[in-house]
Amino acid sequence: MESEAAGVLPRVTTETLQRAASNNRRFTRIVERLVEGWVKLSAMAAIVTIFLIFIFVGREALPLLWEHPEPGLEHEVVTWSNLVGPTHYPDRPSRFMWQPVSNVPKYNLVPLIIGTLKTTIIAILFAGPLAILAAILSSEFAPRWAREIIKPTIELLAGIPSVVLGFFALMVLATWVQDLLGLRIRLNALTAGMALGLAVIPIIFTVAEDALTTVPKAYREASFALGANRWETAIKIVVPAALPGIFAGVVLGFGRAVGETMVVLMASGNAATTTWAFTDSVRTMSATIAAELGEVVWGSPHYRVLFLIGVLLFIFTFVVNLCGEIYVLRLKARLEGTRP
């Protein structure tokens, strides 16, 4: 009895264990598949969302091309010459006008595009050198402890809400810049561009810093072995090797600056001028949408033009960001490929 029991018991136990194990495996597999499906679904959802946003924005803008105005609103019809050509006046020179609320609305996009380019260029000119030099310092010269302070601090700048940056620019930065340069106009492209630069610095810094640190150690060692000092190594070897990555950072920063809204809405003065002077007020595409979309009549030409601006912004940032990402990928492949 005892031996039988002893013989049976272990066999039963093993079987049970095996069955339990196989059950367990099956259960694990189901869970794994569920999780996998969930992750895939999430990734798809992100892609589908972007795609749907694009379709929605385009669908609201495109009827401009074929839609006939409601009776009584014929003069509001939007034509190509209306979008890009100047308005002629009997008593003063022709001008590019953005004045959508008017007896004869003027939907000229030129001032808005110039305004966007102006603030963006200032932002890049201001943020680019600062961010790139900070990245070189952080990756090549700073001791470890300093690096551990510099990097997170600059990246923290990315976490400041843009409305707070805009508020700072409106109340503080504008006064400083005006007093320092003796400017006539308080809210201008320069102030807005500089505040925009603050939003862009962490983006350029992060990408440039990553590019610099991924340059293989062998490059630096070879340079030192040939008698170059740290400075020569950094400027002549490491920076050129990381240049595509640094460029990608600038391009990504450009994309952010083009689409940024709150800062320019608050600090740019929002006058739709077409001059290239950096001390004039400007009106950007993003700020125009933010200021005007809240009160337009749905489906009106004004509404469609605002969506058209949205489409332009979307295409612009999409292309710019895509170029930036492709450069980063190429750089990574090149550096990893040349590794011994």
Partner: protein, 279 residues
């Protein structure tokens, strides 16, 4: 389980009924003109002190925003510093049903402001038009100092913007260099800080700046935007401020509007700095 579910449904139903009756009992939403937001809030405050059951919510955003809200059915009363356009009225009536009623509730003397350091005292409407369309760009053309003029304007959802464009610019276009600011308060703030600035807005906001005397044309007498001049029409930039609503849709709103037009309500108008309607 079923019991719990049933209780929950009953509770939700009771709550929603309670909420809807509370809404009907005295809740009124008012939305629109930034020029009128101070006035609206003061009215609401005074009214709610006298009628503790009433709940009046006032928000700004601009006359265009208020009218859009009336069209979309998201406000009981739209405040507007310009008359509603025919197309807007048709749009609102076809979307919401019923008839839109225009109720003038106060008078405003729109002012043209300059900095207190500016020696200029008066301006004619044709001169203001030339400044805002960019034909005059220096103060010395008006007898002031030799300094370029910085012009401040409003965002185009503003009723004040539309009124100024119609009555001062005669529907001409603003010069592109006109900075567009989000509210009368920002215009006043900007002009008070800029010795070469010029701006426009409701008279109630004129603090820290100098409202100019207005001449209807170059040869007309310079007139101050006082109560008498606004009511008699001597002042060139007097305008009515309006409520728009669908009467009968929300009884609480109707009672509120009636109170606003009463002597009590019109007294508040003077306290805020606007002018009561002529009787």
């Amino acid at each position: 389980m079923k019991k719990i579910a049933r209780t929950m449904i009953a509770a939700t139903a009771a709550w929603s009924m309670l909420a809807s009756t509370a809404f009907a009992a005295g809740s009124v939403t008012i939305k629109g003109s930034d020029t009128m937001v101070l006035l609206g809030q003061k009215w609401a405050e005074t009214y709610m002190q006298k009628n503790p059951d009433a709940k009046i919510q006032v928000t700004g955003g601009g006359s265009g925003t208020g009218i859009a809200a009336l069209i979309n059915g998201t406000t009981d009363i739209a405040e507007s510093s310009r008359p509603m356009k025919g197309a807007e009225v048709t749009n609102a009536e076809s979307k919401q049903g019923g008839k839109v009623k225009e109720i003038p509730v106060a008078l405003d003397a729109l002012s043209i402001y300059v900095s207190t350091s500016n020696p200029l005292k008066e301006i004619s409407l044709p001169q203001a038009r030339k400044i805002y369309t960019g034909a005059i760009t220096n103060w010395k053309d008006l007898g002031g100092p030799d300094a370029p003029i910085t012009i401040y304007s409003r965002e185009n959802n503003s009723g004040t913007y539309v009124f100024f464009k119609e009555h001062v610019l005669q529907n001409d276009d603003f010069d592109p260099s006109a900075q567009t600011l989000p509210g009368t308060a920002s215009v006043v703030n900007a002009v008070s800080k800029d010795p070469n600035g010029i701006g426009y807005g409701g008279i109630a906001y004129a603090e820290g700046i100098k409202p100019l005397l207005i001449k209807k044309d170059d040869n007309a007498p310079a007139v101050e935007g006082t109560l008498e001049n606004a009511q008699s029409g001597k002042y060139g930039l007097a305008r009515e401020l309006y409520f728009y609503q669908f009467p009968g849709k929300n009884p609480a709103a109707d009672t509120f509007v009636a109170w606003v037009l009463s002597d009590d309500g019109q007294k508040v108008v003077g306290d805020v700095g606007y002018y009561p309607l002529k009787k």
